[in-house]
């Protein structure tokens, strides 16, 4: 899979044609099963801010972002998936919930969803949103992949830093999510303070155990996927 941070799907600058062309070439070369980026904006008037910045949950933003996702999908000749991001601010003119926002954009753009459960958990903590309600708002057929990770604390807020173990509350949310969505490919993210290999493997084994228990199916291991003849 190819997972990016710079498509800038939510920005008001025009899409970066050079970046898009390079991404199309890369995707053509590697033929990833999924291609994903984030539901956010990262640059304004040519200044790159190098962060996954939040969008207001408005009809205007839904139309704007969905049109840009369609443009990207046409350029790439394939569907992409968008990931919900952690956020630390909310906007006074938000007109819909996080789940409604994600669902509306994915439906209008006809794209997939990369569902980051840690980000939903972080937003539940930071903003008091209902993570289960957000998941219930989504079309299960659109969820391509799940991300899990561990946040850090900064005062009263949780920050999405990918440098702690997956929290128990997120494991519990993962179980409830699978019960609703069925088996979904799952990735655990570590960006920093990476623990010994045994602990990384143990987290993956825990995710696999939950997938098998909740979904009642044997989960395919990496490297054993069938290849079309």
């Amino acid at each position: 899979m190819l997972h990016g941070v710079s498509l800038d799907l939510g920005a008001s600058d025009p899409l970066d044609a050079k970046y898009l062309g390079e991404l199309a070439a890369l995707a053509g070369r590697f033929q990833p099963a999924w291609l994903s980026d984030h539901l956010c904006w990262t640059a304004h008037r040519g200044a790159h801010l190098h962060d996954l910045l939040p969008l207001p949950h408005t009809e205007e933003a839904v139309r704007h972002v969905a049109a840009r996702i369609r443009e990207v999908q046409e350029r790439l000749g394939r569907r992409i998936a968008i990931e919900n991001v952690s956020s630390y601010v909310r906007f006074t003119h938000d007109a819909m919930s996080e789940g409604e926002f994600l669902d509306a954009i994915s439906a209008e753009a006809d794209c997939g969803i990369l569902l980051d459960l840690n980000n939903l958990f972080v937003n539940a903590h930071n903003h008091g949103i209902d993570a289960d309600a957000a998941i219930a708002a989504l079309d299960p057929a659109r969820v391509f992949q799940i991300h899990l990770a561990g946040p850090s604390e900064a005062g009263a807020l949780l920050i999405d830093t990918h440098d702690y173990p997956v929290r128990d509350e997120v494991w519990a949310l993962f179980e409830r999510t699978l019960a609703r969505l069925g088996p979904v490919s799952t990735l655990i993210e570590w960006d920093d303070r990476i623990p010994p290999w045994e602990r990384v493997v143990a987290e993956a084994a825990r995710a696999r155990e939950i997938l098998e228990r909740v979904c009642g199916a044997e989960v395919r291991r990496p490297g054993t996927a069938e290849v079309a003849a």
């Binding site: 920005a11 904006w41 190098h50 962060d51 207001p56 906007f91």
Partner: protein
């Protein structure tokens, strides 16, 4: 384009890039858990911290030579004057050497007095980064030269590997970076101005650098724009002002091929 969204993002971007906390943050929601200013502060802190950290990774000897506090002040002033213009953080430091050398900001102007070698060290470290991730290319080999019929030598097209740079430096800053890489003291107190022409390039996975004499640098500068061997010989004869021009061109060609500096140019 949706105007309210554009305006809101313009305001938000302005808050992130401003050096002072904004007096007001209309449109942002605060609550009992955290005020709007505290919430915006997460993004404001992350913006400068993330880019300054990336600059420290790209200019490690400069950071160590200046010390954390001085480097952070320099990087913050640089970022304020030069917001990142590329989707990748990799290029955020592209204008740092010029900022140190030329900008009127106190952080740069004072550095030119207290650490006059700093701009050269930044130029050298940027060249190391640029050479490191330049695209691979097919090198010109000694076997290619051996296989070339004598009558075609004049027409042999030469080009330099991508990402290679020729620098004219006033300070021997390569020693500072080398000491940093070897985890040795930087010996800045005894650093004395000494001009040198330095060539930086990548060979397989190692960034190489060496000092050049002026005449070789002139030839290499020409080769960087693509040159035929016959032209190189003519230029070498001018440089040497004697009849040994062809021999000099042949000797530098041999050295460049051995060093993996040239690519097969099929023009």
């Amino acid at each position: 384009m949706s105007e309210p969204l554009t305006r809101a993002q313009g305001a938000f971007a302005g808050w992130l890039m401003a050096r002072e906390d904004p007096a007001a943050t209309p449109g942002l929601f605060g609550d009992a858990r955290a005020s709007a200013a505290e919430r915006l502060g997460v993004y404001r802190n992350a913006y400068s911290a993330r880019i300054i950290s990336a600059l420290g990774d790209d200019f490690p000897a400069l950071k160590r030579a200046l010390g954390d506090a001085c480097f952070t002040a320099l990087a913050a002033a640089y970022l304020h004057a030069n917001p990142s213009q590329h989707p990748s953080l990799r290029y955020a430091g592209a204008r740092l050497p010029a900022f140190i050398a030329e900008h009127a900001a106190p952080a740069a102007a004072e550095l030119r007095l207290s650490a006059p070698w700093a701009a050269d060290l930044a130029r050298f470290e940027l060249a190391v980064t640029d050479a490191f991730d330049a695209v691979d290319s097919k090198l010109l080999t000694r076997a290619d030269l051996t296989a070339l019929p004598p009558e075609l030598w004049d027409q042999l097209a030469l080009a330099v590997v991508p990402g290679a740079q020729l620098l004219t430096l006033a300070w021997p800053v390569r020693a500072v970076r080398a000491a940093h890489d070897a985890e040795q003291p930087l010996a800045l107190a005894t650093l004395a101005a000494a001009a040198e022409c330095v060539f930086v390039w990548r060979r397989e996975e190692r960034v190489m650098h060496r000092a050049l004499e002026a005449s070789e640098a002139t030839l290499l500068a020409r080769a960087q724009h693509g040159v035929r061997f016959g032209e190189l010989c003519a230029l070498a004869a001018e440089e040497r002002a004697d009849e040994a021009g062809a021999a000099f061109a042949a000797s530098v060609l041999g050295r460049w091929v051995e060093d993996g500096v040239l690519v097969a140019d099929d023009r």
